[in-house]
């Protein structure tokens, strides 16, 4: 398993963001669904080794992130797109992606090709020399994805990756996700059930810091058969699970 989480918790003061999550994730595209404030971002930030857990254990790519040298190994193989992507306005697209390729300690000789590849995969080749301050919100999101995939990560963590993308870009991005999922573990946190249905092989639904459901998108759809709210079968399954858990 590339992600092995055991009774993981995280508290912010009196607020319990993540309350004893158990989760194992292997290769493929894994969706994390949940309403706002459910704990998805906190869980993802712990998996990205940015946030320290309050308790519980976490193993990523077979390594312990508490150990410094192992954490460094994990980070070399990790890609992360945060929910709020910060950027340096004066950098060009290529420079920004190159900057994070360097921080991920990629072999210098490989960096130019990897940067070019990542920029092309998110369809920003024409804007490669544009300053980030000149790009639209959707383009910036794609720059964020490019920096996340530039090191060909074994574990890719994406927090709301399709926010700000137009429908065409969203469809293209789902294809990229499926392609990445063939060789690595991709964890996508989203509240858009269409993304999960189209790209994920497995899904977990988080509510109030706990996993309320774990299964395939089809199994989630099945939960909504005959009851639940929503326009699509998956949305009905989503709302049915949430309603059941809260009841």
């Amino acid at each position: 398993m590339n992600v092995d989480i055991d009774h993981l918790t995280r508290k912010f003061g009196r607020t319990q963001a993540v309350a004893g999550v158990n989760l194992q994730v292997g290769p493929g595209v894994f969706g994390l669904l949940g309403p706002n404030g459910a704990g998805k971002t906190s869980l993802l930030r712990m998996m990205a080794t940015v946030l320290q857990p309050s308790s519980g254990s976490l193993r990523l790519l077979g390594r312990d992130p508490h150990n410094h040298s192992q954490r460094r190994e994990i980070r070399r193989r990790l890609g992360y797109l945060p929910q709020n992507l910060g950027y340096y306005p004066g950098f060009t697209v290529v420079e920004f992606v190159e900057y994070f390729a360097l921080l991920k300690e990629m072999p210098p000789a490989r960096i130019p090709a990897a940067v070019a590849d990542a920029v092309e995969r998110v369809a920003l080749g024409e804007e490669a020399r544009s300053k980030l301050r000149t790009l639209s919100g959707g383009m910036l999101r794609r720059v964020g994805i490019a920096q996340a995939i530039v090191n060909d990560p074994e574990l890719l963590l994406l927090d709301e990756p399709t926010a700000g993308l137009d429908p065409e870009q969203r469809v293209q991005f789902r294809a990229v996700l499926r392609e990445l999922g063939e060789t690595s573990t991709v964890v996508v946190s989203t509240h858009l059930v269409e993304d999960v249905g189209a790209a994920c092989t497995e899904v977990a639904l988080i509510d109030r810091g706990n996993i309320a459901f774990r299964g395939t998108p089809d199994e989630l759809t099945a939960r909504g058969a005959g009851h639940g709210l929503g326009d699509s079968p998956l949305e009905r399954g989503y709302s049915a699970v949430l309603a059941g858990g809260r009841a």
Partner: protein, 484 residues
């Protein structure tokens, strides 16, 4: 997603420099300091450069603007920009991305710091090059002093490190202006305040107190002792702050933590040693001596061959003062004609150092170069040589002929006519001096009347009277009534 750009692929085949060099190159290209370079250039021109242009073209005198003007001007902006750069990830919300990278946070921060410091030092050294280049075209002797440059670079590195640390640890939009304000308070207020208090150690550590004596680098070597201590202090602070940043961003790495701890300890040791050594400083006539770092070789006077202009009494100056020789000779010429061949007249007028004036302690409480230079003349030796210390030299930018050198005339006349050492002058001597200097008063006093009488005589009559009465006049045996 669709693939569009082809040129990127072609460019990607070349193998570039190492990872750290690439990181530094990126940081250098995007450093905020670049935007500030024109402002720093303007500050340099309107403050340091123009101030230096008003000083005589002596290397050490001109170089005093480096620490008195250039470094304080730069420090405010450097600290602010460093704080702005240090707070970048906090302001831009890229902390998560930078933190989850394999490269340790301290290494990333170090690249940003190195870029800011590199631009700062490049701007500083560029300004020094312009200053020294201009001085080289005017100075007739000596060479550029490098200790003030090294001390200035250490001060800038220290403020860069302090500003950067403030930005990294307290990221925010107001960190940069606050860092600049604190730097201003430290440099301009704190150091200046302690000068007037009973803390000479801290006063000595202020870079703005390294005012060289007017004759430094001309008649005697300037002691680098104080510069060495200041470099130790400020470089120590810079190193300690960088080490502290390493400790704060070690994020569990024992190697990083240990290295940072050692670096911090070394920096603190250097800074504390600097403070300790400054406490042992003593002010001597030729400069500040700090025994632990003092080189005895610098106590010896600088050897030089004087530049002379032959007259009835030859006038010689130190080669650095070559430009002032014609003006000095023109000033002294009437007196030389009057005195040459008289009993007790000097065979040569030679410039001497003004460093014997025991007022160097004043240097610690002022930045005025002019106050460090005095005028005096003494007749010594056999045959007699008149040693003349020049005073308040005009700047090279002003025409020499417009500069009054009357004080040198007065010193010359006083040394020749005036009372012997240890005795008081009498009214007859004062009257003759006033007559020769054309400075007699119009008041109806006996002395003024005698001076005016003597001044009205033809020069050959004056000379004849002096030839017969000079020994008696110098001995104080002439009464006012005896003056023709």
């Amino acid at each position: 997603m669709t693939s569009v750009a082809v040129p990127l692929r072609a460019q990607s085949e070349r193998v570039g420099p190492t990872r750290r060099a690439r990181l530094l190159r990126l940081e250098l290209r995007h450093s905020t300091m670049i935007w500030l370079l024109p402002l720093l250039g303007a500050l340099f021109y309107f403050d340091a450069f123009r101030t230096a242009a008003g000083y005589p073209p002596f290397w050490f005198v001109r170089s005093s603007v480096i620490l008195n003007h250039l470094v304080p001007d730069f420090s405010l902006f450097v600290a602010g920009v460093a704080a702005w750069t240090g707070s970048r990830d906090g302001r831009r919300e890229t902390v998560d991305l930078v933190t989850m990278a394999a490269q340790p946070r301290c290494a990333t921060a170090l690249a940003s710091f190195a870029a800011t410091t590199s631009w700062t030092l490049a701007a500083f050294l560029g300004c020094v090059a312009v200053l020294y280049g201009a001085t080289a075209t005017q100075a007739s002797w000596g060479g550029p002093p490098w200790w003030p440059v090294a001390a200035g670079a250490a001060v800038l590195c220290a403020f860069c490190a302090l500003g950067f640390a403030a930005g990294l640890l307290l990221p925010g939009r107001f960190t940069a202006p606050l860092a600049a304000l604190v730097t201003f308070l430290v440099l301009i207020v704190a150091f200046r305040v302690v000068i007037h208090e009973s803390h000479p150690t801290f006063a000595l550590l202020s870079p703005m107190n390294s005012v060289p004596h007017g004759d430094a680098g001309v008649f005697f070597h300037y002691f680098p002792d104080l510069y060495i201590v200041q470099i130790m202090f400020f470089a120590g602070i810079a190193i300690a702050v960088l080490g502290g940043l390493g400790l704060a961003t070690a994020s569990g790495s024992r190697i990083v933590w240990r290295t940072a701890a050692v670096v911090t300890a070394l920096g603190l040791a250097a800074a504390c040693t600097g403070v300790g050594l400054a406490g042992t400083a003593r002010v001597e006539a030729d400069g500040v001596v700090i025994p632990a770092v003092h080189d005895a070789a610098s106590d010896r006077p600088i050897a030089y061959t004087p530049v002379c202009q032959q007259r009835a009494i030859p006038v010689c100056v130190q080669p650095a003062f070559r430009a002032y020789l014609p003006d000095l000779v023109a000033t002294l010429n009437p007196l030389i004609h009057q005195f040459a061949g008289l009993p007790g007249a000097p065979v040569r007028v030679e410039q001497s150092s003004s460093s014997t004036i025991p007022e160097l302690s004043v240097a610690l409480s002022t930045t005025e170069i002019d106050t460090l230079v005095g005028a005096s003349a003494t007749l010594t030796g056999n045959p007699l040589v008149l040693h003349l210390a020049l005073t308040e030299l005009p700047s090279q930018s002003e025409p020499p002929s417009s500069q009054p050198l009357a004080i040198e005339q007065a010193a010359f006349v006083d040394a020749f006519i005036g009372p012997a050492e240890g005795t008081l002058g009498d009214p007859a001597q004062a009257a003759i001096e006033a007559a020769l200097l054309h400075s007699a008063s119009s008041l109806p006093t006996p002395a003024a009347q005698a001076a005016n009488r003597f001044a009205a005589l033809a020069p050959n009559v004056q000379r004849a009277w002096l030839a017969s009465h000079l020994p008696a006049l110098r001995a104080g045996h002439i009464a006012l009534a005896q003056i023709p």
